[in-house]
């Protein structure tokens, strides 16, 4: 409880601060929201000074003023169903209505390292969708093209996604989806999320990427264990976390876990 009260106090103090000097740009150390951030997008990547570095890291964290959300490509809608609108719609609306939603929320930045259209073109056929999620390109591919595209993402000089940080799956009730979170040891600020979507919930099958990233071995076993997805070509597809005689796959939304 007590921390919520503290929240209130500090909210009020920063509100007054904001009213006092509405036009000034806050010094780097000021504890204010990004409502006052400069209108133009902060300069990406290069961070020679601490301030610039902080701006850059803020930008990576998706904290951009709303003005920079101009649509870039038709393939980069902010959300799947197009419902996610900046701040006012999706983001937190406090019960009392006294506190405004944070500015810049749900204002996904654009990936700085590649243009989404170009990404789509480079990956070739089999790409179902390319969208932008908080600055990370999310590429949905067809299952039969997964291995080709994964290999390209790992080996192509433009990408070098040699680091499969983790692999997981999402149950969207009517279908399942596998998610591969990719990074690059060479370009550590580049992120890319690869997906295979619309897997049949009754018999989800997807090619194993263990031949491309050995790191996929255990995460795929975990996804098999908890989500019930069959990875074709996996060298050792057994349950990982649960006992061998466990029934069902607990991370499925329909899993009945109360006996």
């Amino acid at each position: 409880m007590d921390d919520e009260q503290h929240t209130n106090e500090h909210d009020e103090s920063s509100d007054t601060k904001r009213e006092e000097k509405p036009s000034e740009r806050p010094p780097a150390g000021e504890a204010v929201g990004d409502a006052q951030a400069p209108a133009g997008a902060p300069h990406p990547e290069s961070a020679p000074t601490p301030e610039a570095a902080r701006e850059a890291s803020q930008q990576r964290s998706g904290r951009l003023p709303e003005s920079s959300t101009s649509p870039t490509t038709p393939t980069s809608p902010p959300a799947k169903e197009g419902e996610k609108q900046p701040a006012a719609a999706g983001s937190a609306r406090p019960a009392g209505g006294a506190r405004p939603a944070p500015r810049g929320a749900a204002a996904p930045q654009v990936p700085t390292w590649i243009d989404l259209e170009e990404l789509k073109r480079l990956l070739g056929e089999g790409v179902e969708a390319v969208e932008n999620q908080w600055g990370t390109p999310v590429v949905t591919v067809q299952a039969d093209q997964l291995l080709r595209i994964a290999e390209k993402l790992r080996d192509d000089e433009r990408f070098r996604f040699d680091f499969l940080t983790t692999m997981t799956a999402v149950d969207w009730r009517s279908y399942l989806e596998t998610v591969y979170l990719l990074q690059s040891y060479e370009y550590p600020t580049h992120h890319l999320t690869l997906k295979v979507s619309h897997l049949d919930s009754d018999n989800p099958r997807v090619p194993s990427v263990t031949g491309i990233w050995e790191a996929a071995g255990w995460p795929e076993r975990e996804a098999y264990d908890l989500m019930g997805i069959y990875f074709e070509g996996h060298p050792d597809l057994r349950r990982l976390l649960l006992p061998e005689d466990w029934e069902g796959h607990p991370l499925r939304k329909a899993y009945d876990y109360i006996d």
Partner: protein, 366 residues
């Protein structure tokens, strides 16, 4: 004439002192040589990812404590950082500095546990006592600021739970000076010891390509010469403001991992001291909505935990709890490479290799 040998399979653990929690490995040996290792994990699986789907975003914070229980502050930060990224929240600098202080303190405490237990694995009893004596001081400091010894739940979405007092900061600062001397003591006690060195040098060697294939991170990667550390490579929080180095080695053996972790403690001390010196005034809680409902979408946020690259993947459906919440535990990925590293080594070396991976089963099993 070759001696006729026979393979033998036995179970190491799940309650073996050298397995750090309830880890079990089915080990096949031929004489002293390890032929095959099959790790059996899941004894600490509590279904955190499933639980998280039924909890609101702030309610998940205590569950993150209980995953990698040696670095609860960093787990807290990884989760709240992901939510803050979803919300686009601005965190007061004062709060961010305090977060860095407690995270780096936690990193030192975690490395101390590793140091003590790793040497315990190798048969050295007394370092463990030294390590836990110093760790206790850090835990007392963290308990004072958060209210708990291990399960801190100190981070809040938008800031931290409580402010640090001047008195607390002064004592942290004093202890950091003391800690530098203590680490020198550790080096005098263990690092230069020839018997110890012969146990760890050229043991469990792998190269950078191997580490990349297996997605290793943390000291397990930096021992091969790669300097990937999220704090520097893909900076988050205010780390770009700090002056510190990423220790690396190129030999790729257990010795390299050992030295890197010792040096990381010294770097963390540097960060803590800088943070205390430059701590700006300001609120310790930012402007966070009371009812946290992030917009629809998905986000991945990663930080450098004591064990490597730790990440939190959130799929939000616009409600007050995540639709899917996935945790990237670095020790999980590092442990997955364990069978590949241990093929053909001696049993005693296998224990050293396992210890040097620095696993925490709470994080592996989640």
């Amino acid at each position: 004439m070759a001696l006729r040998t026979e393979e033998l399979t036995f179970s190491l653990g799940p309650q073996h002192p050298s397995t750090h929690g309830v880890f079990r490995a089915m080990v096949t040996i031929d004489g002293e040589r390890v032929v095959h290792v099959d790790p059996v994990i899941g004894y600490l699986h509590r279904g955190t990812e499933k639980i998280a789907e039924w909890k609101t975003y702030p309610q998940i914070i205590p569950y993150t404590d209980r995953m990698d229980y040696l670095s609860a502050m960093l787990n807290n930060y990884c989760h709240v950082g992901a939510v803050e990224k979803l919300l686009g929240l601005e965190i007061p600098e004062h709060a961010e500095y305090i977060r860095i202080i407690v995270m780096e303190l936690n990193r030192i405490a975690s490395h101390l546990v590793w140091w003590g237990t790793f040497l315990l694995d190798l048969g050295a009893m007394s370092p463990f006592l030294y390590a836990f004596k110093d760790r206790q001081v850090i835990l007392d400091l963290l308990e004072e600021i958060s209210g708990a010894r291990l399960t801190y739940s100190y981070m809040r979405i938008g800031g931290v739970k409580r402010d640090a007092t001047q008195e607390w900061l002064r004592r942290v600062d004093d202890f950091m000076d003391e800690m530098v001397k203590n680490i020198q003591g550790y080096n005098n006690l263990v690092t230069g010891n020839e018997i110890f060195q012969s146990r760890v040098k050229n043991v469990g060697v792998y190269d950078e390509a191997f580490a990349k294939r297996w997605g290793l991170s943390g000291a397990c990667l930096r021992c091969t010469g790669n300097s990937y550390d999220v704090r520097k490579s893909d900076p988050y929080s205010l780390y770009p403001k700090f002056d510190f180095e990423i220790p690396t080695r190129t030999s790729g053996d257990v010795w390299a991992r050992y030295i890197i972790r010792i040096e990381e403690m010294l770097q963390s001390i540097r960060i803590v001291k800088q943070a205390i010196r430059n701590l700006p005034d300001g609120p310790f809680m930012g402007k966070a909505p009371r009812n946290i409902r992030p917009p629809k979408g998905e986000v991945y946020f990663h930080i450098e935990s004591p064990r490597g690259d730790m990440g939190c993947y959130i799929v939000s459906d616009g409600s007050d709890h995540p639709y899917r919440w996935h945790w990237r535990a670095p020790e999980f990925a590092n442990l997955a490479a364990f069978p590949a590293i241990t093929e053909g080594v001696n049993i005693a070396d296998m224990i050293a290799i396992l210890g040097a991976i620095d696993i925490v089963l709470g994080g592996v099993d989640r």
